[in-house]
Amino acid sequence: MTTAGAHAPETPPALLRLQALAGNRAVAGLLAGTAAGAGVVQRKPPVTTPAFPPRPLPPAAYPPQNRPLDTEGNLILITRGGRPYLAERPASLAFPHAAGADFRLFPVNPNRTYQRLRAHCGQLLIQQRQLATRLKGDMRYWFARVYSFVTQYTLEDVDAGKYQYPHMKLQQIVHFHETYQRNLEAWEAGQRAKVESNWQAAFAAADDADSILGASKSIGNALLPSMEAHIRLDLPRAIAAAYQLHYVDIPGASLDAFQRDFYAMGAVFERSQAALAPEIDAAGTDLNPVNWETLGDIGFVFLFLIDTERQMAWEKATAVARAWGVSRAGIERALRADMGARHPNLEPFEVAGKDITDYDWGNQPGARPDPRAPGRTYEPAPEPPKSGTLYFRLDRPRGGEALEHAARRDQDLQPLLALAEWTRGVRGASIWLLGRASSEGTEVLNQNLALARAELVRFFLWRAGADLDRNTVRTIALGELGAQAIPEHRCVSILVVDRGQSKQQVFPATANLPSEVNP
C-alpha cells in the first residue's frame, strides 16, 4: 500500500516476477536505480488474508488504572449515589477546625471548599448587616440585628477553629440566610402566599408588636416570634437539609457526628444576647413594677431558651433526617409523633402562639444537590496508523478472490493489519473506505468494482480482527467518478475520519464543590 497520491504505474511483468522472488523493496529499489550493488535483497513474507475465524474481540472498555483524586490530590471514593468523598485523610487541611473530626465528613477539595464557603458567608454577613440597617425603625429590625450577630459570632468561632466540621457550619449559614431572605422579600413584596407560615406568623407579630407595657416589651413581642420561627423550624430543617444534601450517603456518616458542633454554638447565642441587650435597654427603660428589673432583660429569658430549644432543634433535625424522602405530610406526622412523645408539655412548633402545621420540612429553600462526581472518561485515542491508498489490479477482484491477489503485487498489506490492530484499542472511530475504479469498462461495472474493492478491504480488516462492533467502517463506492483509464484510479483510499476514543478508561480529577458555592 502506498500513500495516497503517490504515483503508482502499472508494473511490467518482468518486475512482477522479480517482486515475487525478491520482494517489494527490491522492485522499488530497482525502479529507483538503487538495487544494484545492494547485495542480496530479502523479500518480506507476503501478507495474506488472516484465516477464519477472526480473532475474538477485546472488551468494549478497560477499567481505569489510575486512582480517583480530587483536584487537591486527595484520594476519593464515590458513593452509590454518585457523591465523591474523601477516602483518606487529606495531607493538607489548611482550614481551622477542632480535633477529632472524621475526615470523610470534610468535602472533597476541602481547602478550596472552605475558602469559597468562608468568603461566601463573609458576604452574607455584610448583606445581613445592611439589611438590619435598612430595617431600622421597623420592628423586624430586631431579629435582623440579632441574626447578624449570630452569623458574626458563628464566623468568629469558625475562624477560631472551634468546630470540627466548619464546612457544615458554613453551609448552614447559607441555608438560614436563603430562607430568611426569601421569606422577607416575599413579605415586603406583598406576596404573602410565598411566605412560609412560620414567617407569616413572625412577621405579622412584628407588625402587631406594640405593647402598652412599653418599648422593650414591644421589642420582645416582635423579636421572640422571629426567634421561634428561626430556631424551632428553620434551624432543624437547615441542619437536616445540609446533612441530606452533602453527607447522608457517605459510608459511616451519621448526623450524630455533627452534634458536638451544634452544642458548641451555645455561646454564640449568649454573645448575641449580650450584644443586643444594650440596644433594647436603650430603646426603652420601662421597668417591671413587680421586681423592678428592666423588661428587656426579662424578655431575653424567653428569647433564648437555649438549652431546651436547642435540644429540641437537634431532636427535630434528627427526626427530619430520619424521615427524609417521605411525603411532606409523612415528615410532619413523624416529627410531631417524635416530639410529642418526648416533650408532651412543650410547644416545639409554635410561632407567636400559632401552631405551625404546614411547614415544608423536606424542602430547604434554594437548596440544590451537589454535582455528581465526574464519571469515568476514556483516554484519547492513540494515533492511527498512517492511512493510505491500496492499489488494485485491473478488473480485480473477481469472484471470491482474496485481497492479496486482487491488490497489485507491489502493495503492502501490513498497514491494514496495523489498522485492524488499532481498532481493537479504540471505540467510536470512523473509517471510510473509498472504492474507485479506472474508466475502462461500463459505469455500472466500475461502480460494482469500486464497491467490491472497498468491501474486500473491509473483509480483510474483519478477518484481521478489527473491532467493527465498536467502530464504524463505511464502504463508499465512488465508481469511475472523475477517473481516467490509468492505474492510479484502481484503488481504495483508507481514511480515518474520526479517531473515537481509547478503550482505556480513566478517572478524571474531580473539581467538585458543594452546591452552596458551585455556580
Binding site: 407595657l213 421586681n291 423588661l295 412523645a341 418526648r342 416533650h343 408532651p344 408539655n345
Partner: protein
C-alpha cells in the same frame, strides 16, 4: 359553685400579670396537662420506638412537676400572658369539654406496664377536674385551665377549642 374564682386561678393570673414565670409554671400540673398529647403521639410512632420515647416523655412530665424538667416549658405563652391576662369560667359542659380535651386516648401496643399504669392514674385524675376556665391574653384565647379536685394545681390545655357549650358563667375574673 358560685361565680367566685378558684384561688389557684387567682394566683395564676397574679403571676401572669407580674411576669412571674417561675410561679406560673409552678401552678401547672404538668402530667395531666401533657398526657393527652403524650398518648396521641405514642400512637403515631412506630411500635419499636414507643417504649423508649414513652419512658422519656413520662419522665419529663414528672420532672416538670418536680421543678427539674426543661427550662421554661410555658415558652412564649408566659410572655403573652403578661399582657392583660383574663380567665373566664365555663359551665358544666365547658368542664366536660376540657376533661375531654385533657383525657388521654387508649394506649397503643408495646407500652411498658408501669407506663400504662401511670397513664391510667393520670386519666382518673383528669376525671376529677371540677372547674374549667378559658384563659386569654388581650384579644387572644390562649388555653383552657382545669382545676383538679383537692389540688392546688391547674391542668393546662393549650389550644383549647372554642366549645359552644362552654358558656361563660363569669366575665373577667379579676384577682
Amino acid at each position: 359553685m358560685g361565680d367566685a374564682l378558684h384561688p389557684t386561678v387567682v394566683a395564676f393570673l397574679a403571676a401572669a400579670e407580674a411576669g412571674d414565670v417561675d410561679r406560673l409554671e409552678e401552678l401547672i400540673d404538668w402530667p395531666t396537662s401533657g398526657v393527652a398529647r403524650f398518648v396521641a403521639s405514642l400512637r403515631e410512632l412506630p411500635e419499636r420506638r414507643r417504649p423508649e420515647l414513652a419512658r422519656q416523655g413520662l419522665a419529663e412530665m414528672f420532672a416538670l412537676a418536680a421543678g427539674s424538667g426543661p427550662d421554661r416549658p410555658l415558652g412564649s405563652l408566659a410572655m403573652r400572658l403578661t399582657e392583660d391576662p383574663m380567665a373566664v369560667r365555663l359551665d358544666r359542659s365547658g368542664v366536660e369539654a376540657l376533661i375531654q380535651a385533657a383525657r388521654p386516648g387508649p394506649l397503643p401496643a408495646a407500652i411498658p406496664d408501669d407506663i400504662a399504669q401511670a397513664v391510667d392514674r393520670l386519666r382518673r385524675r383528669i376525671d376529677t377536674i371540677e372547674e374549667a376556665y378559658r384563659l386569654s391574653a388581650g384579644k387572644r384565647k390562649e388555653a383552657g385551665l382545669g382545676v383538679l379536685s383537692g389540688a392546688n394545681h391547674l391542668t393546662l390545655v393549650r389550644r383549647f377549642p372554642a366549645h359552644p357549650a362552654g358558656r361563660a358563667v363569669t366575665t373577667r375574673l379579676s384577682r
